[in-house]
Amino acid sequence: MGEVKVFGVRRSPYSCRVEIALKLKGIKYDFIEEDLSNKSPLLLKYNPVHKKIPVLVHNENPIAESLVILEYIEETWKGTPILPEDPYQRAMARFWSKFIDEKCMPALLKAAVKERENKKAIEEAAELLKILENELEGKKFFGGDNIGLVDIVADFIGYWLGLIQHVTGLELLTKEKFPNLCEWSHEFLSSSIVKESFPPSDHLLEYIRSWLSANPSK
């Protein structure tokens, strides 16, 4: 197995992605909680380009960027697969993961957090969620019968978004508009590994409340 360390922040969905993947594979690791307002010399040494979490360090070799880390975990350790075997299905999983990271995440953060009074931002986020809603049709998880790469990458949608909505009253991800996504979120959060990888909801709610009051909507 070698020595595995994760430099992360427990309340970050990007950091949690790495923990879910490692736990799915049964890999033991040390988790180092970073203070983002005072980044450790080790983090800056391991990720000099972006200076961000998460960083996985395996036998002193650092890897940054959560999608890159997830692929590395998949390739390095056998056990529960995160990606399908078929190359076309793998391509689809990578496509949807990129879509979530590059399009959905910025739009959701804008609509739910940064510009939460902005109706247009909410509409744009809803359009992107609709695409994911359609992709889930007939499937328990994005990965099919089991949690896979796309489910892990969609963790913000599965957990954080619901909690933010609870605090702000935002009605973006609702059962009426997105039955598949809501059902998926329920299934996703039913996994004990996923639950263990996330901060408890009361902690996260408290964090969300204090963050929102310190950062008024633009």
């Binding site: 890897i63 999608l67 076309y88």
Partner: protein, 234 residues
Amino acid sequence: MAASSTADDVKLLGGWPSPFSNRIQIALNLKSIPYDFIEETFTPKSHLLLKSNPVHKQIPVLFHHDKPICESIVILQYIDEVWTKGQSLLPSDSYDRAIARFWAAYIDDKWFPSLRQLTIFAQGEDAISAALKQIVEATAVVEGAFADCSKGKAYFGGDKIGYLDLVFGCFLGWLRLAEKVVGVDLLTETKTPGLVGWVERFSSNDAVKSVIQEPEKLMETLEFLKAMFNASTT
């Protein structure tokens, strides 16, 4: 019934000026995969493009036995995983693969947007000056990446052209055009000696030569993109 070879039936919907399309053209050439090239019409976007990539409506789209694969980074990995005979694009060691993927993300998410900012979006002296500073810094980072990845050898991929060579190399025509338009060399012997040597070797490869465009040929496309951007912001 004879089994069809995986090399059968490959089509690429792309555009000759598009670096992302060029990325795939070079990969297919390197792997000696025969394919039909379908030139996208753009204005308006073809029915084929809208049907095969409804999410992004962008080229390139690879069709393998009529099944579409979108996003050049996804396509590159698909090609590498399906056509396994001969030269592999990604390194064989999983840590080296992670490093290659990391730098590919940097090039696509930081370096290329800086180049686009400089050539298309930045208007006025201050904005252009700021954009130039950014691309110079980003290029210095890529020079560092080349030193790390090549480990003293000819290419990002080592002895042979690999994944990162394609990811960065596809932008060479546009890089040259930016240098002409702004009047500043981005790749120089003093600042980026590794990349200068690499460009010579990469550009002279047969798989690359026919694909990367001369900057003069790209000028009209640049003018078109600038006009579209200006129209959308007025």
